[in-house]
Amino acid sequence: MTRLELADSDWRRVSRKYIVVDLVGTLIAGVVTVAATSIPAWVTQLVWLWAIPGSLAIIFIITLCLTPRRVRSIGYQLRSDDLLFRRGLMFQRFVSVPYGRMQLVDINRGPLARAVGLSELRFVTAAASTGVTIPGLPEAEAEGLRDRLVELAESRRAGL
């Protein structure tokens, strides 16, 4: 069971610090979700209702354990004519976006990511399903990458 791999790929990975951001984010989401779903069990005192928060907690713990590997699986590379993006371990996804198709490039900073100086780059094309977001880029790198991509997109601008 080998994973999908594309030929001659030289992936640039995201910052290791993003593991912490992702871990903390997942942890907060997990605690909130488990707490919210355990309210019915706590109120009604029905034992079997604990199964819902219990199973959710297990899922979140597994996710947390896999987070470092999942973050390491995120990668991107600037090829001569398109941006290639990958993410996912169990559910692998590769996306290729030709530079000329990029309509805009967003930089987002969440509170957690900002604390460790990371940014998130989001690409928008005319297709809603493209959905390419590169998380965990150091701020300077993110801005450099954005400028580079905008420049590339401008030089290869095509119609829709």
Partner: protein, 508 residues
């Protein structure tokens, strides 16, 4: 009003009947109700019959308010008429060399501009009432959700002329001196009436608008057949069978009343589809393809070249014995006018046989004209699968594609990607490589166990989803890489946003 060129860069006003056509219907209806009531009242006075029911007119008449009320009505009327007139005065548009601009509103001014080289299509809609007075609505769709510039209403012939000129401007040529419009001014009322009747009875597509060999028209029998053999009919039959069983078992007829709304709904669906598709025609013009339909309210739209992002040819099971197909497209703009009327304007061929499909595909995908690609396309439509030019799913995909694994495959031609799916509901998706926005390659745990992968080609949103699952891993990677390279290559040579400029450049 003299018929001048509208696309000359100056501000122009809309058709004078616009207020009446836009909001006037309700106004006329209210007036009608008042008049009907008034008539009863007048009859009552003349005949002298006592009226014991409460009637506002009687009440007004008997309480000496008549003068005051009359005054109020007249004031209201004047205000309404004045408002309509002002809004008509303030609603102006102009077409310059590279954009179309509309100003409207009395207190709250809006100003909307659309760039001509981003035009996705120009639609001329003629609702029945507007057709009667010889007006038409021109809708210029620009890429984006509801990002349309509407000119409602224009004179019928002026709308056609304006569309021609906008397309000419958008195509990238310098506007050639246009021939003067034939429009002989109608002098007498009878001549005017004559012209209206002629316009009303004229064929949907003017015979000189397009070369006749490129025209596809709707076949009446086929249209009826396609409606009878649609999924709705199956649902209807199941419903009837279910209903008769219940009646036979219980002997009660009461619940039938509950079904009445559903029957009305289904009936209006049939009538809607029928009247909309009846005078359907699609033809090739120098500025793109022209799709027209509608019996009472007509609509015809010109899609410039390169505005079609994906095409799906599909065949429901019931249509297969007759060899009928339906064609839908993805496009970058959506028109609200069509969406409301049931059938969205993404259906470009409601029903047609293989010859029609071939013609329409040649129109919408001009890159496919060579015989080899066309043969491949027909294979894609009808073949049962196997070694036929398509790269199909391997045998192990039978777990996921029980019947269609032989047919589930792709092929790449010079400038498009063909995806073939389904053995029972056959369909073929064609995506022009120059219109690919991005591509995705996916593999989940189940697909990995089977050494399969899925590929999606992202285009603008629409009814066509260009996704192919359960492909062999290596084949999927090949498709992903080849289509990505093809998308870049085709996009770099694609100049269809200024379609005539490219032709001129090639000619010189």
């Amino acid at each position: 009003m003299s018929e001048t060129r509208l696309a000359d860069g100056d501000w122009h006003r809309l058709h004078p009947a616009t207020p009446l056509l836009r909001g006037g219907i309700a106004f006329v209806a209210i007036l009608g109700v008042i008049l009907v009531n008034l008539r009863d009242f007048v009859i009552n006075i003349v005949v002298g019959a006592p009226n014991e029911e409460f009637d506002p007119f009687v009440w007004i008449f008997e309480h000496d308010f008549a003068g005051l009320i009359l005054l109020a009505i007249i004031a209201g009327l004047l205000l309404a008429v004045g408002g309509f007139y002002l809004s008509w005065r303030m609603h102006t548009f102009r077409i310059t060399a590279d954009q179309v601009e509309v100003r409207s509103g009395i207190l709250f001014r809006t100003n909307r501009r659309g760039r001509l080289d981003r035009i996705q299509g120009i639609n001329i809609v003629r609702p029945f009432l507007a057709r009667l007075v010889g007006a038409a609505k021109l809708e210029i769709s620009v890429a984006g959700q509801n990002a349309n510039v509407q000119l409602a209403y224009l004179g019928s012939s002026a709308a056609d002329e304006l569309r021609r000129e906008i397309l000419l401007l958008a195509s990238g040529t310098s506007p050639a001196p246009t021939t003067t419009t034939e429009g002989v001014p109608a002098t007498s009322a009878s001549a005017l009436l004559d012209r209206r009747v002629n316009e009303l009875l004229a064929p949907e597509l003017a015979p000189d608008a397009a070369p006749p060999e490129s025209v596809v028209q709707m076949h009446l029998g086929r249209l009826i057949g396609s409606l009878v053999l649609s999924g709705t009919t199956v649902v209807l039959l199941i419903g009837i069978a279910f209903g008769s069983v219940i009646i036979a078992r219980t002997g009660e007829f009461f619940f039938l009343f509950g079904v009445v709304p559903a029957i009305i709904g289904i009936g209006s669906f049939y009538i809607n589809r029928f009247t909309r598709s009846l005078r359907y025609s699609i033809a090739s013009t120098p500025d793109g393809i022209r799709v027209g339909f509608g019996l009472l309210s007509t609509s015809n739209e010109t899609l410039p070249p390169g505005r079609i992002h994906a095409v799906r040819v599909s065949q429901p099971l019931l249509w297969r014995p007759f060899g009928w197909w339906e064609i839908k497209i993805n496009r970058a703009s959506t028109s609200e006018a069509q969406g409301a009327a049931g059938q969205a304007n993404t259906t470009i061929l409601p029903v047609g046989n293989l010859a029609d499909v071939r013609k329409v595909l040649e129109l919408v995908l001009p890159g496919l004209v060579d015989s080899e690609s066309l043969a491949l396309l027909e294979t894609g439509l009808r073949s049962r699968g196997g070694d036929d030019g398509f790269t199909n799913s391997p045998r192990r995909a039978v777990v996921l594609r029980w019947f269609s694994w032989r047919r589930n495959g792709f092929a790449i031609t010079n400038d498009s990607v063909l995806l073939r799916r389904g053995a029972i509901w056959r369909e073929l998706v064609v995506v022009p490589q120059a219109r690919i926005q991005s591509l995705a390659l996916r593999q989940g745990p189940l697909l990995r166990r089977l050494r399969l992968a899925a590929v999606s080609i992202h285009t603008v949103a629409g009814p066509v989803a260009a996704t192919l699952g359960a492909l062999d891993e290596q084949a999927a990677v090949t498709l992903f890489e080849d289509a990505a390279a093809g998308a870049v290559r085709s996009a770099s040579v694609d100049t269809s946003h200024r379609w005539r400029a490219s032709g001129e450049a090639a000619a010189t």
